[in-house]
């Protein structure tokens, strides 16, 4: 049995391409699953972007650089990293006790959302427009195939895929072909690229801030 926490620890030092049975998706996506689920996961090259909310200072330069890099303009909608949504009131929106919850209007902790390069979008896309970049491990969208149906956006566990109305195409994090712009411009190093073998600790830290503050 491979535990949710153990899976990545046990993967350290394992070569790219190793095939696992278990819950890597559930761990990376935060989706519920049990450890006996039959998914077959292939650990790919690359890794993912993770934010440490302790360090995030809510400037949104990551959103900006992402948007510039991919679409040429500036917009939180176009950006693949999502700061604006959680910025003021935390991941669960406005609560009656907003003063004690996360967010700029709460305890000051900002919890941006990033793509975890899981398989959900690739699996739900009816156009088979989303595939894995073998060099970076990023799930990338083929805009020629994408019809903007929004299935991927709807099912994305992190809600970091958007359909851009102006072109009716879905957009998501592609790790900037291995050189993520968001991390380059972050003024505190809060958002970083983590190879899979280092991702567990980073995600564990991040996950501390995804729930409601009790």
């Amino acid at each position: 049995m491979i535990t949710r926490r153990g899976i990545l620890k046990s993967s350290m030092g394992v070569a790219v391409g190793t095939v696992y049975h278990g819950t890597l998706i559930s761990f990376l996506t935060g989706c519920g699953s049990d450890n006996s689920s039959p998914e077959v996961i292939e650990v790919m090259a690359g890794g993912l972007m993770v934010v440490n909310p302790v360090m995030c200072v809510s400037c949104r330069r990551c959103e900006i650089a992402c948007s510039w890099n991919h679409e040429g303009d500036c917009s939180p909608t176009l950006a693949r990293v999502k700061v604006e949504r959680n910025m003021n009131f935390g991941p669960h929106g406005v609560q009656f006790d907003y003063q004690t919850q996360h967010g700029e209007c709460g305890d000051g902790t900002v919890v941006p959302a990033t793509c975890r390069q899981c398989e959900v979008c690739t699996q739900v896309c009816p156009q088979q427009a989303i595939s894995t970049n073998p060099l970076t491990g990023a799930k990338i969208i083929d805009e020629e195939r994408c019809v903007g149906c929004g299935y991927c956006a709807d099912k994305c566990p992190q809600q970091v895929i958007k359909v851009v109305r102006s072109k009716m195409k879905a957009v998501k994090c592609d790790l900037c072909n291995g050189n993520p712009a968001c991390a380059q411009v972050c003024p505190t190093g809060a958002i970083k690229f983590y190879p899979w073998e280092e991702a567990e600790a980073a995600l564990e830290q991040y996950e501390k801030y995804t729930g409601l503050v009790s």
Partner: protein
């Protein structure tokens, strides 16, 4: 350059709350005024009505952004709010500013500005979701503090709504009131204008984009160029303490990070350590300024992180966690986000000393109360005047006996910050005579006879008292980087606007922290020999100082029009030894050219900004119905000349100015701007030069044009 025009969103939203009319204007007609402040002044010029009050329905309030806001260019999260001000005699035009994320959201929704006029018949708020604009009932919001209002509007719209709102002070039309957006960003002086319109606030969700003409590569190259030049807040370019990487250091610099300075309230305590200038992924730690406000002990205990505005890597805000706010003072939150005057104003009022617990607590408690009620400080004047009157036992002559006895003076005497809870409540709800401290200062002076006419006060004259910091005798505006900042340079900057000068162009070089000789050399290369005097050791006026003052004002107006942070820009100095610590004053034009696609030089852009400044001057004259600015507007308080009686102007160790020298300074200053030397009013030739002939025509028709 591509063919598309970027930057501007495309529309100005015009809302009339009396008629519920909602219309759009194309932005193109405002291109010559850049944006932001320029849009505000142009709208108020076009719709000018004589003799109206700021709180009359006919008055217009404009929330505006420039072409850079929302583009993601560094430090462009500013919003300019323009309207007549209830704080100034004759309710002259003034602008307030806040940062945060409001104007980027406005741009993403498709609007460069929102202009509100009229008065709703019942409390309302303005809801904007992209191009869907509706006037919503605000009955449930009315009476709420600003923090709850932000949350309630976001609950109705969605958590990503950016909200600008007033608190109880604005609702009650307290003249000294603010409009605030999330994160502690407030703009002073116009809260009551919104209150008078029964408008509680504006909520915006924008899902669109700000178009950018240049490529990502060019935008990133400019971003990288700026990161190599920009310093800490107010462009301090050296650390405040000696550090291994730095050739120089200076305590005045706001580059505070150093070993031993911590974000002690962060869930993982962070010791900031040295933050060398070229570590681009650590810039956000550089300006951890909490110790300046609450002392290093409490900074290390309460600082959670830095904060600030959209697209800014400098992060001048302090996000603090102070458990005592809840446990001891029964506040709803133990968190407070603010900067500078937010913390300092209640400390000035209490007269506490930095390094003490009372001082630290006064800062954080006062900031939280001020922000929730939405009270403005008039750049500290309310605190300085309160402290003087209290210290000199004058309140017993000014307040009814019952009221005087009801005020918990013992708390103030014991430096207990709980005094602020009582005091600010009286202000926000207009309780009693003392609440008039939040009137416009002209009104307060007249009401209490603070101009040497009240025998009970020993004929005390506020304009002769340096401690109360009233700098302009006619507008009663506060000292704001005035004669203490580069002598005549700061002084001239402080005579032009109708409220305190919010100009930091000069302080951003004066306080860079570089050795004086290096700063003076930069100033000399820019404006000529003698532009920058030694600190507190001034020489008579010269042409270089006048050029310095004019340049600073033009850049200030440029920034408030672009809209770019004037608390950081311009960047005349840099932390880069390889550049010989020189900055780059062309950055703004580079930003403008890349974002809009309209190739524009520094000189061309400054020319547009100067046009906006002339428009401001003309509008002031029109509103005053008076063209003699020299005698009726640009007049300094007596203490500016008469302080330090044992010293003469020009001696080492004093900032006192000289009356004759100041009149000469005004001569040269007016000439530099193309204003009539006798009156300081813009001439037709100058207005024509800046394509403001229609302004000259209107002034001429009113007999307000010189010559």
């Amino acid at each position: 350059m591509s063919n598309k025009i970027g930057g501007w969103a495309g529309k100005v939203l015009r809302v009339n709350l009396t008629t519920s009319s909602i219309v759009y204007e194309p932005i193109e007609q405002y291109y010559d005024y850049i944006g932001g402040m320029g849009i505000g002044y142009k709208i108020l010029w076009d719709d000018h009505k004589d003799d109206i009050k700021a709180t009359d329905a006919e008055n217009i309030i404009v929330f505006s952004a420039g072409p850079l806001s929302g583009s993601g260019v560094i430090c462009t999260g500013r919003t300019t709010i323009t309207s007549r001000s209830p704080v100034i005699e004759k309710h002259l035009i003034a602008d307030g500013h806040f940062g945060g994320h409001f104007s980027p959201a406005m741009k993403f929704a498709g609007f460069d500005a929102i202009a509100i006029e009229g008065k709703a018949s019942r409390p309302v708020w303005l809801k904007i979701v992209d191009d869907k604009v509706t006037i919503e009932p605000a009955d449930t919001l009315w009476g709420k503090g600003i923090f709850d209002t932000h949350a309630m509007i976001a609950q109705m719209m969605g958590p990503n709504a950016q909200v600008a709102a007033i608190g109880q002070a604005g609702e009650n039309q307290v003249p000294l009131s603010v409009i605030m957006t999330q994160g502690g960003h407030s703009a002073g002086g116009h809260g009551s204008v919104m209150g008078s319109k029964n408008c509680k606030g504006i909520g915006i969700i924008g899902t669109g984009a700000v178009k950018i003409a240049a490529s990502n590569e060019k935008m990133r190259a400019l971003d990288d160029h700026i990161l190599g030049i920009i310093g800490a807040n107010n462009n301090g370019v050296v650390p405040s303490t000696p550090q291994s990487w730095a050739e120089y250091s200076a305590p005045i610099s706001r580059w505070k990070s150093r070993p031993g300075l911590k974000w002690g309230a962060a869930d993982q305590e962070i010791d900031l350590g040295e933050v060398p200038w070229n570590e681009r992924n650590r810039i956000g730690f550089r300006t951890s300024m909490a110790e300046s406000y609450i002392g290093v002990e409490y900074a290390n205990k309460w600082m959670k992180r830095t904060g600030g505005c959209h697209s800014c890597p400098i992060r001048c805000f302090c996000e603090l966690k102070v458990p005592e706010l809840k446990s001891k003072y029964n506040r709803k939150s133990e968190h407070i986000s603010n900067v500078c005057m937010g913390f300092l104003v209640p400390q000035y009022l209490m007269g506490t000393k930095n390094g003490t617990e009372a001082h630290a607590m006064a800062g954080v408690l006062g900031a939280q109360i001020l922000d929730d009620y939405g009270i403005w400080c008039n750049y500290g004047l309310i605190s300085h005047i309160f402290k003087f009157l209290k210290t000199n036992d004058m309140f017993k002559h000014l307040l009814p006996e019952d009221e005087y006895n009801s005020i918990p003076w013992a708390l103030w005497d014991n430096q207990d910050p709980a005094f602020l809870i009582d005091f600010y409540r009286r202000i926000a709800f207009k309780e009693g005579e003392i609440s008039h401290m939040a009137d416009g200062l002209y009104d307060l002076i007249e009401r209490w006879g603070l101009d040497g006419t009240n025998p009970a006060l020993g004929y005390w004259d506020i304009h002769k008292e340096s401690k109360t910091k009233v700098f302009n005798k006619k507008t009663n505006a506060a000292v704001h980087h005035a004669s203490e900042t580069a002598g005549q340079v700061g002084t001239l900057i402080n005579v032009v606007f109708n409220r305190d000068a919010q100009c930091h162009s000069h302080i951003n070089i004066v306080n860079s922290g570089l050795p004086h000789d290096m700063t003076a050399a930069i100033a000399e290369r820019k404006w000529g020999e003698g532009a920058f005097d030694k600190v507190n050791w001034y020489t008579p006026i010269n042409a270089a100082k006048v050029r310095f003052a004019k340049w600073s004002l033009v850049k200030n107006v440029l920034h408030d029009s672009l809209t770019l942070c004037n608390w950081m820009f311009p960047l005349l100095a840099s932390p880069d030894k390889n550049r010989n610590y020189e900055g780059d004053s062309t950055i703004e034009s580079q930003m403008f050219s890349l974002v809009t696609g309209i190739e524009t030089s520094e000189t061309e852009l400054d020319f547009k900004a100067e046009r906006v400044l002339h428009l401001h001057r003309a509008l002031t004259i029109l509103q005053m119905n008076e063209s003699n600015m020299r005698e009726e507007h640009d007049v300094l308080s007596d203490w500016v000349y008469d302080m330090d009686p044992d010293k003469n102007f020009g001696q080492e160790g004093t900032i006192k100015m000289d009356r004759a020298d100041m009149q000469t300074s005004l001569d040269m200053f007016y000439e530099a701007f193309g204003w009539d030397i006798q009156t300081g009013a813009p001439t037709r030739a100058t207005l024509d030069k800046f394509s403001l002939g229609f302004v000259a025509d209107r002034l001429a028709a009113r007999g307000l044009l010189p010559g």
